[in-house]
């Protein structure tokens, strides 16, 4: 197990290094200096600015400085918003995005699993078809379209929920709904198909024959095994939810990381783009690593120790 963790850790570090290097190469390859805007047309000012941000040094020194700044979690200043560093932005916006993401995941996992179980128990019944119909629709409708539909119907027309921003639980309903529907649908479909498979197995028949409580059979015996594939795709779902926050935060005017990220893209604020990308990627890669480890621990059938022999 330790060996497996170490191996995954090594891969994680290499992936992080690739992302950081890629961002650096791309940042350097952008034509012109980041200070080539109208306000700083004065040459001396520009030179001073470049010296201040180490842009006058050769590339390999810049690269090392960049690696150092990332290792110490200093992502540098924003170009377009004076007196703001990327760290300031992240520190302010990350908790909000994190909250949105976590609530979304919890909602998606619980409702997805429940929907999947119900569909599997009523296999080929009307409930099954209904649940799977909802699931296919949920996968098909992009979250930014769902979000606008929700705003128009439930916020503007019906006035049940606030249109935008992020301050009370009522504000959370629509963004979370828009963001959670896709992952929920994927989880529901997966849970259904694995549940169907598990329910036909001998040990479930055995449990039924023993006269165990049907709910106990479902939740204790069947679901436990049916959930393993759901754990496997958690990493992918996390990535989807994370990129989903870019547009959802934009649409609902939630002051989270995604909103700043998209704004920085539109303003071509390169340090912010690069800083947030590195931050996002590291966050995701670390989450993927944790999911992998969790999977190794949770599923007794995976003999992670076997890898030692190879």
């Amino acid at each position: 197990m330790l060996r497996y963790i170490l191996k995954r850790l090594l891969i994680m570090v290499i992936t992080l290094w690739i992302i950081v290097t890629l961002t650096f190469v791309l940042m350097v390859s952008i034509p012109g200096s980041p200070f080539n805007s109208d306000q700083t047309s004065n040459e001396t000012v520009q030179e001073n600015l470049e010296r201040h941000y180490n842009l006058d040094k050769p590339y390999h020194i810049q690269y090392l400085l960049y690696l150092k700044s990332i290792a110490t979690l200093e992502f540098g200043p924003s170009i377009k918003q004076p007196n703001q560093t990327v760290n300031d932005l992240l520190g302010r916006s990350f908790p909000i995005s994190f909250e949105l993401g976590m609530v979304t995941i919890i909602v998606a996992v619980i409702s997805g699993i429940l929907l999947g179980i119900i569909a599997a128990l009523r296999h080929n019944g009307i409930v099954d078809y209904l649940a799977m119909g909802v699931a296919v629709l949920g996968i098909s409708i992009p979250n930014f379209i769902l979000a606008t539909l929700l705003i128009q119907q439930l916020a503007v027309n019906a006035e049940w929920f606030p249109v935008a921003t992020w301050s009370s639980p009522a504000h959370m309903v629509l963004p979370v709904l828009a963001l959670a529907t896709g992952p929920m649908a994927i989880i529901a479909r997966l849970t259904r198909s694995t549940m169907l498979e598990v329910l036909t197995q001998d040990y479930i028949k055995m449990a039924r024959a023993k006269g165990l409580n049907p709910w106990k059979i479902i939740f204790k015996h069947a679901l436990r095994n049916a959930l393993m594939p759901v754990v496997t795709i958690m990493g992918t779902l996390l990535a989807g939810i994370l990129t989903g926050t870019f547009v959802i935060e934009q649409i609902f005017a939630i002051p989270g990381m995604g909103k700043y990220f998209v704004e920085s893209i539109n303003h071509r604020d390169y340090p912010v783009i690069m800083g947030t990308t590195v931050f996002y990627s590291s966050f995701l890669i670390i989450m993927l690593f944790l999911v992998d480890i969790a999977y190794g621990i949770l599923d007794p059938r995976i003999k992670v120790n076997k890898k030692e022999g190879e």
Binding site: L22, L137, T148, Q152, L242, T243, V247
Partner: protein, 318 residues
Amino acid sequence: MKKNSNPRIRNSHRQVPDEWFTWRERDQSTAERLSRPSLSYWEDAWKRLVKNKLAMSGLFFLIGLVTMAIIGPILSPYDVHTNDLPNQYQPPSAEHWFGTDSHGRDVFTRTWYGARISLFVGLMAALIDVSIGIIYGGLSGYKGGRTDNIMMRIIEILYGLPYLLVVILLLVVLEPSLTTIIIALTVTGWVGMARIVRGQVLQIKNYEFVLASKSFGTKTPRIIRKNLLPNTMGPIIVQMTLTVPSAIFAEAFLSFIGLGIQSPYASWGVMASDSLGAILSGNWWTLFFPAFFISFTMFAFNVLGDGLQDALDPKLRK
């Protein structure tokens, strides 16, 4: 259940007298004939796909969409990019079937024009993914051993890179255009396909018919072409039908956050993004049509992919 111990039942067949049985005429020429025509793998898969109504409706929708993407912009008298500001936000009517947008452009024309772009991006991304995936995965799976090990480590690292973030990074630096979007989408997009092909090849290369082929002295490229690839086609096609909608979604998403095709060019993502404000003021049609077609195209590809998955699975063959 235990073996039948009741002697009356156990011996009951002895009580059936022999004269109850007669010899039937036996025609040697038909004895070996198969009662139904033998179906090739593809014929059988097609037959099963046709029976799947949902998948077929998806297929018909896509055929209709491709047709309209080709002829739609020609049918309409309006130009895709020309602004007609006096006629902005016209509701759907006989002149403008899908209404007009904030610049007075005909939404009907733009929708089909957007279909061209979305379908082109989706299909190109899928084709490139498949080509790279087959070569990489096929080589890795067939060679095995050390080569496979190294190639898989590379894939493992690439797989860990967050797909859309890499795409966003590339697009921030590259000039936004159709080509750069397709390049950005395929830079890490082929990894999933390569994994699937490798898994299939690993499994199939140990089957007896490949061994037989080898013992006849068939050369490696021919084995890959004739023995391995046809048998991996099922999962590859299924993966392709799922790649196309994810590429279409990615394009719409990128256009939406301002990194994809740029306005005035019409793609469904651009149209949806442009009309965000419009729906709050009641001009629902500017959002409805692109949104409807993005969602239905994804839906059609998804149900078609599901149907193909069942149809192409040899285990489900009857």
